[in-house]
Protein backbone atom coordinates (compact mmCIF):
# COMPACT_ATOMS: atom_id res chain seq x y z
CA UNK A 1 0.00 0.00 0.00
CA UNK A 2 1.28 3.51 -0.79
CA UNK A 3 2.45 5.35 2.28
CA UNK A 4 0.72 8.67 1.74
CA UNK A 5 -3.06 8.62 1.85
CA UNK A 6 -5.29 9.67 -0.97
CA UNK A 7 -7.36 12.64 0.11
CA UNK A 8 -10.85 13.43 -1.09
CA UNK A 9 -12.11 16.79 0.13
CA UNK A 10 -15.85 17.11 -0.35
CA UNK A 11 -17.47 20.49 0.03
CA UNK A 12 -21.25 20.40 0.12
CA UNK A 13 -22.12 24.01 -0.47
CA UNK A 14 -24.78 25.36 1.92
CA UNK A 15 -25.24 22.10 3.84
CA UNK A 16 -26.70 22.97 7.22
CA UNK A 17 -25.34 20.74 9.96
CA UNK A 18 -28.55 20.14 11.83
CA UNK A 19 -30.35 18.90 8.72
CA UNK A 20 -28.22 15.74 8.83
CA UNK A 21 -29.17 12.71 10.88
CA UNK A 22 -25.75 12.55 12.47
CA UNK A 23 -26.34 16.10 13.71
CA UNK A 24 -29.70 15.10 15.22
CA UNK A 25 -32.06 15.98 12.38
CA UNK A 26 -35.21 13.91 12.88
CA UNK A 27 -35.88 13.24 9.18
CA UNK A 28 -33.89 10.62 7.25
CA UNK A 29 -32.09 12.97 4.90
CA UNK A 30 -28.65 11.41 5.18
CA UNK A 31 -28.35 7.66 5.83
CA UNK A 32 -25.08 7.34 3.92
CA UNK A 33 -23.45 10.45 5.38
CA UNK A 34 -24.51 9.18 8.80
CA UNK A 35 -22.79 5.89 8.11
CA UNK A 36 -19.67 7.76 7.03
CA UNK A 37 -19.79 9.58 10.37
CA UNK A 38 -20.11 6.29 12.25
CA UNK A 39 -17.01 5.00 10.43
CA UNK A 40 -15.07 8.19 11.04
CA UNK A 41 -14.99 11.19 13.34
CA UNK A 42 -17.57 13.96 13.46
CA UNK A 43 -16.78 17.51 14.55
CA UNK A 44 -19.68 18.89 16.53
CA UNK A 45 -18.44 22.45 16.66
CA UNK A 46 -16.69 23.35 13.43
CA UNK A 47 -17.15 27.02 12.57
CA UNK A 48 -16.71 29.03 9.42
CA UNK A 49 -14.71 32.17 10.24
CA UNK A 50 -15.95 33.76 7.03
CA UNK A 51 -19.07 33.32 4.93
CA UNK A 52 -20.35 32.77 2.28
CA UNK A 53 -18.80 30.64 -0.47
CA UNK A 54 -15.75 32.59 -1.62
CA UNK A 55 -14.41 33.72 1.77
CA UNK A 56 -15.07 30.33 3.30
CA UNK A 57 -13.46 28.24 0.56
CA UNK A 58 -10.49 30.61 0.54
CA UNK A 59 -10.07 29.90 4.25
CA UNK A 60 -10.42 26.14 3.70
CA UNK A 61 -7.60 26.12 1.13
CA UNK A 62 -5.27 28.67 2.73
CA UNK A 63 -5.67 27.75 6.39
CA UNK A 64 -6.02 31.46 7.09
CA UNK A 65 -8.65 33.65 8.68
CA UNK A 66 -10.43 35.92 6.17
CA UNK A 67 -8.92 39.01 7.81
CA UNK A 68 -5.53 37.56 6.94
CA UNK A 69 -6.12 36.37 3.37
CA UNK A 70 -8.28 39.42 2.75
CA UNK A 71 -11.18 37.75 0.91
CA UNK A 72 -13.97 38.78 3.26
CA UNK A 73 -16.78 39.19 0.71
CA UNK A 74 -18.39 37.11 -1.96
CA UNK A 75 -17.97 39.19 -5.08
CA UNK A 76 -15.72 41.71 -3.35
CA UNK A 77 -12.72 43.57 -4.68
CA UNK A 78 -10.01 41.65 -2.81
CA UNK A 79 -7.91 39.08 -4.62
CA UNK A 80 -5.93 36.34 -2.99
CA UNK A 81 -2.22 37.15 -2.87
CA UNK A 82 -0.09 34.91 -5.05
CA UNK A 83 2.25 34.15 -2.17
CA UNK A 84 -0.50 32.86 0.11
CA UNK A 85 -0.03 29.14 0.81
CA UNK A 86 -2.63 27.05 -0.98
CA UNK A 87 -3.42 23.45 -0.12
CA UNK A 88 -3.56 21.87 -3.61
CA UNK A 89 -0.33 23.65 -4.65
CA UNK A 90 1.50 22.25 -1.65
CA UNK A 91 0.19 18.74 -2.20
CA UNK A 92 1.16 18.95 -5.88
CA UNK A 93 4.69 19.90 -4.90
CA UNK A 94 4.72 16.97 -2.49
CA UNK A 95 4.02 14.49 -5.26
CA UNK A 96 0.26 14.32 -5.19
CA UNK A 97 -1.79 14.22 -8.36
CA UNK A 98 -4.33 16.95 -7.82
CA UNK A 99 -7.77 17.28 -9.33
CA UNK A 100 -10.77 19.54 -8.81
CA UNK A 101 -14.19 18.50 -10.02
CA UNK A 102 -15.52 21.92 -9.40
CA UNK A 103 -16.77 25.21 -10.76
CA UNK A 104 -15.38 27.68 -8.22
CA UNK A 105 -12.57 28.82 -10.51
CA UNK A 106 -15.33 30.31 -12.67
CA UNK A 107 -16.11 32.69 -9.81
CA UNK A 108 -12.58 33.56 -8.75
CA UNK A 109 -9.40 32.53 -10.48
CA UNK A 110 -7.43 31.47 -7.39
CA UNK A 111 -9.73 28.49 -6.87
CA UNK A 112 -7.93 26.87 -9.78
CA UNK A 113 -4.49 27.06 -8.15
CA UNK A 114 -2.51 23.86 -7.74
CA UNK A 115 -4.67 21.50 -9.77
CA UNK A 116 -3.14 19.39 -12.49
CA UNK A 117 -6.69 18.47 -13.53
CA UNK A 118 -9.75 20.68 -13.41
CA UNK A 119 -12.94 19.02 -14.56
CA UNK A 120 -16.02 21.14 -14.98
CA UNK A 121 -19.18 19.38 -16.14
CA UNK A 122 -21.19 22.52 -15.45
CA UNK A 123 -20.17 23.69 -18.92
CA UNK A 124 -23.21 21.70 -20.05
CA UNK A 125 -25.45 24.07 -18.12
CA UNK A 126 -26.47 27.66 -18.66
CA UNK A 127 -26.03 28.26 -14.92
CA UNK A 128 -23.02 26.48 -13.49
CA UNK A 129 -24.51 25.77 -10.07
CA UNK A 130 -27.18 23.66 -11.74
CA UNK A 131 -24.59 20.93 -12.12
CA UNK A 132 -25.70 17.82 -10.23
CA UNK A 133 -23.92 15.36 -7.99
CA UNK A 134 -24.43 12.70 -10.67
CA UNK A 135 -22.65 14.80 -13.27
CA UNK A 136 -19.81 15.62 -10.89
CA UNK A 137 -19.52 12.04 -9.66
CA UNK A 138 -19.55 10.66 -13.18
CA UNK A 139 -16.35 12.63 -13.90
CA UNK A 140 -14.80 12.17 -10.46
CA UNK A 141 -15.29 8.41 -10.50
CA UNK A 142 -13.91 8.11 -14.01
CA UNK A 143 -10.88 10.15 -12.93
CA UNK A 144 -10.30 8.01 -9.82
CA UNK A 145 -10.47 4.85 -11.91
CA UNK A 146 -8.21 5.96 -14.70
CA UNK A 147 -5.75 8.69 -13.82
CA UNK A 148 -3.86 8.60 -10.50
CA UNK A 149 -0.75 6.46 -10.35
CA UNK A 150 0.23 7.53 -6.84
CA UNK A 151 -1.40 9.46 -4.02
CA UNK A 152 -4.05 11.87 -5.17
CA UNK A 153 -5.92 14.86 -3.85
CA UNK A 154 -9.41 15.20 -5.23
CA UNK A 155 -11.66 18.16 -4.43
CA UNK A 156 -15.33 17.80 -5.25
CA UNK A 157 -17.64 20.73 -4.74
CA UNK A 158 -21.33 19.85 -4.82
CA UNK A 159 -23.94 22.53 -5.51
CA UNK A 160 -27.07 20.41 -5.03
CA UNK A 161 -27.95 21.78 -1.60
CA UNK A 162 -27.34 25.38 -2.66
CA UNK A 163 -30.30 27.22 -4.14
CA UNK A 164 -32.03 26.66 -6.53
CA UNK A 165 -33.39 23.58 -4.78
CA UNK A 166 -34.45 21.45 -7.70
CA UNK A 167 -34.21 17.82 -6.60
CA UNK A 168 -34.77 15.02 -9.10
CA UNK A 169 -38.33 13.99 -9.82
CA UNK A 170 -37.85 10.65 -8.05
CA UNK A 171 -37.56 12.50 -4.73
CA UNK A 172 -41.11 13.73 -5.16
CA UNK A 173 -43.21 13.42 -2.04
CA UNK A 174 -40.33 13.16 0.42
CA UNK A 175 -40.30 15.22 3.61
CA UNK A 176 -43.53 17.16 2.96
CA UNK A 177 -46.45 16.21 5.11
CA UNK A 178 -49.16 17.74 3.02
CA UNK A 179 -50.79 21.06 2.53
CA UNK A 180 -50.92 23.29 -0.49
CA UNK A 181 -47.45 24.40 -1.59
CA UNK A 182 -48.90 27.17 -3.76
CA UNK A 183 -51.66 28.39 -1.46
CA UNK A 184 -52.21 32.03 -2.54
CA UNK A 185 -53.37 32.87 0.97
CA UNK A 186 -50.08 31.80 2.49
CA UNK A 187 -47.98 34.95 2.85
CA UNK A 188 -45.13 33.49 4.87
CA UNK A 189 -42.60 34.16 2.13
CA UNK A 190 -43.87 37.56 1.03
CA UNK A 191 -40.99 39.47 2.62
CA UNK A 192 -38.54 37.27 0.70
CA UNK A 193 -39.92 38.45 -2.62
CA UNK A 194 -38.55 41.91 -1.78
CA UNK A 195 -35.00 40.54 -1.67
CA UNK A 196 -33.31 40.10 -5.06
CA UNK A 197 -32.49 36.44 -4.37
CA UNK A 198 -36.09 35.81 -3.29
CA UNK A 199 -37.51 37.59 -6.31
CA UNK A 200 -35.23 35.52 -8.50
CA UNK A 201 -36.45 32.33 -6.81
CA UNK A 202 -40.11 33.30 -7.19
CA UNK A 203 -39.63 34.02 -10.87
CA UNK A 204 -37.66 30.86 -11.66
CA UNK A 205 -37.29 27.70 -9.60
CA UNK A 206 -40.30 28.38 -7.34
CA UNK A 207 -42.53 29.11 -10.27
CA UNK A 208 -45.22 26.52 -11.04
CA UNK A 209 -48.27 26.43 -13.26
CA UNK A 210 -50.35 27.08 -10.11
CA UNK A 211 -48.35 30.15 -9.21
CA UNK A 212 -45.28 30.49 -7.01
CA UNK A 213 -44.54 28.19 -4.10
CA UNK A 214 -45.75 30.00 -1.00
CA UNK A 215 -45.32 27.36 1.72
CA UNK A 216 -41.89 27.53 3.42
CA UNK A 217 -42.37 23.96 4.67
CA UNK A 218 -42.41 22.87 1.08
CA UNK A 219 -39.25 24.84 0.25
CA UNK A 220 -37.57 23.23 3.25
CA UNK A 221 -38.70 19.82 1.97
CA UNK A 222 -37.05 20.61 -1.37
CA UNK A 223 -33.84 21.47 0.48
CA UNK A 224 -34.02 18.21 2.42
CA UNK A 225 -34.60 16.26 -0.79
CA UNK A 226 -31.46 17.81 -2.20
CA UNK A 227 -29.56 16.56 0.86
CA UNK A 228 -30.98 13.10 0.27
CA UNK A 229 -29.89 13.31 -3.35
CA UNK A 230 -26.39 14.43 -2.34
CA UNK A 231 -26.32 11.59 0.16
CA UNK A 232 -26.81 9.11 -2.68
CA UNK A 233 -23.82 10.64 -4.42
CA UNK A 234 -21.63 10.21 -1.36
CA UNK A 235 -22.61 6.53 -1.30
CA UNK A 236 -21.68 6.15 -4.98
CA UNK A 237 -18.30 7.71 -4.35
CA UNK A 238 -17.65 5.41 -1.41
CA UNK A 239 -18.70 2.37 -3.44
CA UNK A 240 -16.12 3.27 -6.07
CA UNK A 241 -13.36 3.48 -3.50
CA UNK A 242 -14.35 0.06 -2.14
CA UNK A 243 -14.46 -1.39 -5.62
CA UNK A 244 -11.02 0.00 -6.41
CA UNK A 245 -9.54 -1.22 -3.14
CA UNK A 246 -8.81 2.40 -2.20
CA UNK A 247 -11.18 2.86 0.72
CA UNK A 248 -8.66 1.85 3.38
CA UNK A 249 -6.04 4.49 2.62
CA UNK A 250 -8.25 7.28 1.36
CA UNK A 251 -9.03 10.08 3.74
CA UNK A 252 -12.48 11.49 3.07
CA UNK A 253 -13.30 14.87 4.53
CA UNK A 254 -16.87 15.99 4.07
CA UNK A 255 -17.66 19.53 5.12
CA UNK A 256 -19.67 22.57 4.18
CA UNK A 257 -18.49 26.10 3.55
CA UNK A 258 -21.51 27.44 5.45
CA UNK A 259 -25.00 26.38 6.38
CA UNK A 260 -28.38 27.68 5.29
CA UNK A 261 -30.89 29.88 7.08
CA UNK A 262 -34.12 28.19 6.00
CA UNK A 263 -36.42 30.92 7.43
CA UNK A 264 -34.57 31.56 10.69
CA UNK A 265 -33.93 35.16 11.73
CA UNK A 266 -36.14 36.41 8.86
CA UNK A 267 -33.46 35.34 6.39
CA UNK A 268 -35.07 33.12 3.79
CA UNK A 269 -33.21 30.20 2.21
CA UNK A 270 -29.85 31.91 2.01
CA UNK A 271 -26.56 31.93 3.85
CA UNK A 272 -25.97 35.23 5.50
CA UNK A 273 -26.44 36.27 9.11
CA UNK A 274 -23.80 35.07 11.55
CA UNK A 275 -26.08 32.70 13.44
CA UNK A 276 -25.12 29.11 14.15
CA UNK A 277 -27.44 27.77 11.44
CA UNK A 278 -25.05 29.37 8.96
CA UNK A 279 -21.62 29.52 10.62
CA UNK A 280 -21.58 26.14 12.38
CA UNK A 281 -20.85 23.63 9.66
CA UNK A 282 -20.83 19.84 9.39
CA UNK A 283 -17.43 18.16 9.22
CA UNK A 284 -16.84 14.42 9.02
CA UNK A 285 -13.48 12.70 8.50
CA UNK A 286 -13.03 9.04 7.59
CA UNK A 287 -9.67 7.37 7.02
CA UNK A 288 -9.53 3.69 8.00
CA UNK A 289 -5.75 3.35 7.55
CA UNK A 290 -5.24 6.51 9.59
CA UNK A 291 -6.54 4.78 12.69
CA UNK A 292 -9.09 7.44 13.49
CA UNK A 293 -11.29 6.92 16.51
CA UNK A 294 -14.18 5.63 14.45
CA UNK A 295 -17.59 6.66 15.69
CA UNK A 296 -16.33 9.41 17.98
CA UNK A 297 -17.38 13.01 18.09
CA UNK A 298 -15.09 15.95 18.78
CA UNK A 299 -16.84 18.58 20.83
CA UNK A 300 -14.23 21.38 21.10
CA UNK A 301 -14.41 24.41 18.85
CA UNK A 302 -12.56 24.06 15.56
CA UNK A 303 -12.43 26.39 12.55
CA UNK A 304 -12.35 25.68 8.83
CA UNK A 305 -8.85 27.18 8.81
CA UNK A 306 -7.79 23.97 10.60
CA UNK A 307 -8.70 21.79 7.62
CA UNK A 308 -5.68 22.47 5.38
CA UNK A 309 -3.12 21.98 8.19
CA UNK A 310 -4.85 18.73 9.17
CA UNK A 311 -4.77 17.39 5.63
CA UNK A 312 -1.12 18.37 5.20
CA UNK A 313 -0.36 16.65 8.49
CA UNK A 314 -2.09 13.48 7.26
CA UNK A 315 -0.08 13.65 4.06
CA UNK A 316 3.17 13.94 6.00
CA UNK A 317 3.83 17.47 4.75
CA UNK A 318 5.16 20.45 6.65
CA UNK A 319 2.48 22.99 7.44
CA UNK A 320 3.58 26.46 6.30
CA UNK A 321 3.96 28.99 9.08
CA UNK A 322 1.64 31.32 7.20
CA UNK A 323 -1.23 28.90 7.77
CA UNK A 324 -2.95 30.01 10.97
CA UNK A 325 -5.09 26.93 11.50
CA UNK A 326 -4.00 24.04 13.66
CA UNK A 327 -3.88 20.40 12.69
CA UNK A 328 -6.18 18.26 14.82
CA UNK A 329 -5.11 14.98 13.24
CA UNK A 330 -3.83 13.55 16.50
CA UNK A 331 -7.21 14.28 18.06
CA UNK A 332 -8.97 12.52 15.20
CA UNK A 333 -6.71 9.56 15.91
CA UNK A 334 -7.36 9.66 19.63
CA UNK A 335 -3.66 10.17 20.34
CA UNK A 336 -4.33 13.49 22.01
CA UNK A 337 -7.14 14.64 24.26
CA UNK A 338 -9.70 16.68 22.34
CA UNK A 339 -9.08 20.38 22.61
CA UNK A 340 -9.83 23.44 20.57
CA UNK A 341 -10.42 27.15 20.67
CA UNK A 342 -11.94 29.04 23.58
CA UNK A 343 -13.60 31.33 21.08
CA UNK A 344 -14.15 31.79 17.38
CA UNK A 345 -14.24 35.15 15.62
CA UNK A 346 -15.74 35.39 12.18
CA UNK A 347 -17.24 37.78 9.70
CA UNK A 348 -19.35 38.42 6.64
CA UNK A 349 -19.25 41.27 4.17
CA UNK A 350 -21.70 40.30 1.44
CA UNK A 351 -25.37 40.82 2.38
CA UNK A 352 -24.41 42.14 5.79
CA UNK A 353 -21.20 43.70 7.12
CA UNK A 354 -20.68 42.11 10.52
CA UNK A 355 -18.37 40.29 12.88
CA UNK A 356 -19.17 37.62 15.42
CA UNK A 357 -17.42 36.43 18.51
CA UNK A 358 -18.64 33.12 19.87
CA UNK A 359 -17.50 31.33 22.98
CA UNK A 360 -18.93 28.21 24.57
CA UNK A 361 -21.87 30.11 26.02
CA UNK A 362 -22.38 33.44 24.30
CA UNK A 363 -22.32 34.94 20.86
CA UNK A 364 -21.86 38.63 20.19
CA UNK A 365 -22.58 40.07 16.73
CA UNK A 366 -21.36 43.52 15.77
CA UNK A 367 -22.56 45.33 12.65
CA UNK A 368 -20.29 47.70 10.74
CA UNK A 369 -23.29 49.11 8.91
CA UNK A 370 -27.07 48.76 9.34
CA UNK A 371 -28.49 45.62 7.77
CA UNK A 372 -31.50 45.39 5.47
CA UNK A 373 -33.60 43.65 8.13
CA UNK A 374 -33.42 46.46 10.63
CA UNK A 375 -31.58 44.42 13.24
CA UNK A 376 -29.76 46.31 15.99
CA UNK A 377 -26.04 46.90 15.49
CA UNK A 378 -25.24 44.77 18.52
CA UNK A 379 -26.68 41.35 19.26
CA UNK A 380 -25.89 39.12 22.21
CA UNK A 381 -27.19 35.58 22.63
CA UNK A 382 -26.91 33.05 25.42
CA UNK A 383 -26.44 29.83 23.44
CA UNK A 384 -27.09 27.69 26.49
CA UNK A 385 -30.49 29.14 27.28
CA UNK A 386 -31.33 30.18 23.73
CA UNK A 387 -29.65 27.92 21.18
CA UNK A 388 -31.83 29.29 18.38
CA UNK A 389 -30.42 32.78 19.03
CA UNK A 390 -33.83 34.42 19.19
CA UNK A 391 -33.54 36.62 22.28
CA UNK A 392 -31.10 39.48 21.91
CA UNK A 393 -29.66 40.25 25.34
CA UNK A 394 -27.50 43.20 24.32
CA UNK A 395 -29.77 45.71 26.05
CA UNK A 396 -30.34 43.52 29.11
CA UNK A 397 -26.67 42.69 29.63
CA UNK A 398 -24.82 45.79 28.41
CA UNK A 399 -21.68 45.05 30.41
CA UNK A 400 -21.26 41.62 28.88
CA UNK A 401 -21.98 43.00 25.43
CA UNK A 402 -19.43 45.77 25.92
CA UNK A 403 -16.87 43.30 27.19
CA UNK A 404 -17.28 41.00 24.20
CA UNK A 405 -17.22 43.96 21.83
CA UNK A 406 -13.96 45.16 23.38
CA UNK A 407 -12.53 41.64 23.08
CA UNK A 408 -13.51 41.49 19.42
CA UNK A 409 -12.12 44.92 18.60
CA UNK A 410 -8.86 44.15 20.43
CA UNK A 411 -8.47 40.92 18.48
CA UNK A 412 -9.07 42.74 15.20
CA UNK A 413 -6.68 45.58 16.06
CA UNK A 414 -3.94 43.11 17.00
CA UNK A 415 -4.56 41.09 13.87
CA UNK A 416 -4.42 44.09 11.57
CA UNK A 417 -1.28 45.38 13.25
CA UNK A 418 0.44 42.01 12.87
CA UNK A 419 -0.52 41.96 9.20
CA UNK A 420 0.68 45.50 8.64
CA UNK A 421 -2.81 46.55 7.59
CA UNK A 422 -4.53 49.71 8.68
CA UNK A 423 -8.11 49.25 7.49
CA UNK A 424 -10.83 47.00 8.75
CA UNK A 425 -11.62 44.86 5.68
CA UNK A 426 -15.31 44.56 6.53
CA UNK A 427 -15.64 48.33 6.83
CA UNK A 428 -13.70 48.69 3.60
CA UNK A 429 -15.79 46.24 1.58
CA UNK A 430 -19.11 46.87 3.36
CA UNK A 431 -22.06 44.72 2.43
CA UNK A 432 -20.90 44.19 -1.14
CA UNK A 433 -24.01 42.59 -2.59
CA UNK A 434 -26.24 45.27 -1.08
CA UNK A 435 -24.06 48.01 -2.54
CA UNK A 436 -24.19 46.42 -5.97
CA UNK A 437 -27.93 45.79 -5.74
CA UNK A 438 -28.64 49.38 -4.76
CA UNK A 439 -26.35 50.69 -7.48
CA UNK A 440 -23.77 52.16 -5.11
CA UNK A 441 -20.84 50.43 -6.79
Amino acid sequence: MQEKPNIILISADSLRANHLGCYQYPLPTSPNIDRLACQGVLCENMFAPGIPTQPSHTTIFTGQHPVTHGVVAHGGKAKLGRGTPYLPEILLEEGYTTCAVDTLFRERIWFGRGYEYIIDPSLHHVFYASVTQEELNDRAIHWIKTVPKGPFFLFIHYWDVHYPYVPPERMRGLFYDGGNPTDPDNHALDQWWDHPIGAMARDTWLHTSNGPITDPKYVTALYDREIRYLDEGIAALEATLEQMGMAENTMIVLLADHGESMTDHRICYDHYGLYDCTVRVPTIVRWPAGKLRAGSRLAPFRQLSDVAPTLLDAAGCMVPEEMEGQSFLSQLQGQEEPSGYDRVIGLESTWQAKYYLRNSRYKFILARQPDLLGNPDRELYDLTADPEEEHNLAAEQPQLAASMEAELEAWLADKLQALGKSKDPVKEEGAVAVSIWLGHR
Binding site: P28, H125, P164, M171, T204, R297, A299, A433
Partner: protein, 49 residues
Amino acid sequence: MEQKPRKETSEDLVVPEPPATPPEDPTPVMRPEDEALVAERLRELGYIE
Protein backbone atom coordinates in the same frame (compact mmCIF):
# COMPACT_ATOMS: atom_id res chain seq x y z
CA MET B 1 -13.40 18.21 26.75
CA GLU B 2 -14.08 14.51 26.42
CA GLN B 3 -15.23 12.68 23.37
CA LYS B 4 -18.85 11.74 23.64
CA PRO B 5 -20.45 8.44 22.73
CA ARG B 6 -22.26 8.46 19.41
CA LYS B 7 -25.85 9.53 19.56
CA GLU B 8 -28.69 8.15 17.55
CA THR B 9 -28.36 8.73 13.82
CA SER B 10 -30.86 8.58 11.04
CA GLU B 11 -29.42 5.16 10.19
CA ASP B 12 -31.83 3.87 12.77
CA LEU B 13 -34.80 5.55 11.20
CA VAL B 14 -37.05 4.08 8.58
CA VAL B 15 -36.47 5.64 5.21
CA PRO B 16 -39.78 6.50 3.57
CA GLU B 17 -40.40 5.52 0.00
CA PRO B 18 -41.78 8.36 -2.10
CA PRO B 19 -45.52 7.94 -2.58
CA ALA B 20 -46.57 6.87 -6.07
CA THR B 21 -48.95 9.77 -6.62
CA PRO B 22 -48.12 12.46 -4.09
CA PRO B 23 -50.87 14.99 -3.58
CA GLU B 24 -50.08 18.62 -4.10
CA ASP B 25 -46.42 18.31 -5.00
CA PRO B 26 -45.59 20.51 -7.95
CA THR B 27 -41.83 19.65 -7.82
CA PRO B 28 -40.14 22.65 -9.45
CA VAL B 29 -37.99 22.36 -12.51
CA MET B 30 -35.34 24.69 -13.88
CA ARG B 31 -36.04 25.52 -17.49
CA PRO B 32 -33.12 26.83 -19.57
CA GLU B 33 -34.65 30.30 -19.44
CA ASP B 34 -34.78 30.03 -15.64
CA GLU B 35 -31.12 29.08 -15.52
CA ALA B 36 -30.28 32.03 -17.76
CA LEU B 37 -32.22 34.40 -15.53
CA VAL B 38 -30.58 33.09 -12.35
CA ALA B 39 -27.13 33.43 -13.91
CA GLU B 40 -27.93 36.96 -15.09
CA ARG B 41 -29.19 38.05 -11.67
CA LEU B 42 -26.16 36.59 -9.88
CA ARG B 43 -23.81 38.19 -12.37
CA GLU B 44 -25.49 41.52 -11.70
CA LEU B 45 -24.85 40.99 -7.99
CA GLY B 46 -21.17 40.32 -8.57
CA TYR B 47 -21.35 36.63 -7.70
CA ILE B 48 -20.01 35.59 -11.10
CA GLU B 49 -17.25 37.33 -13.01
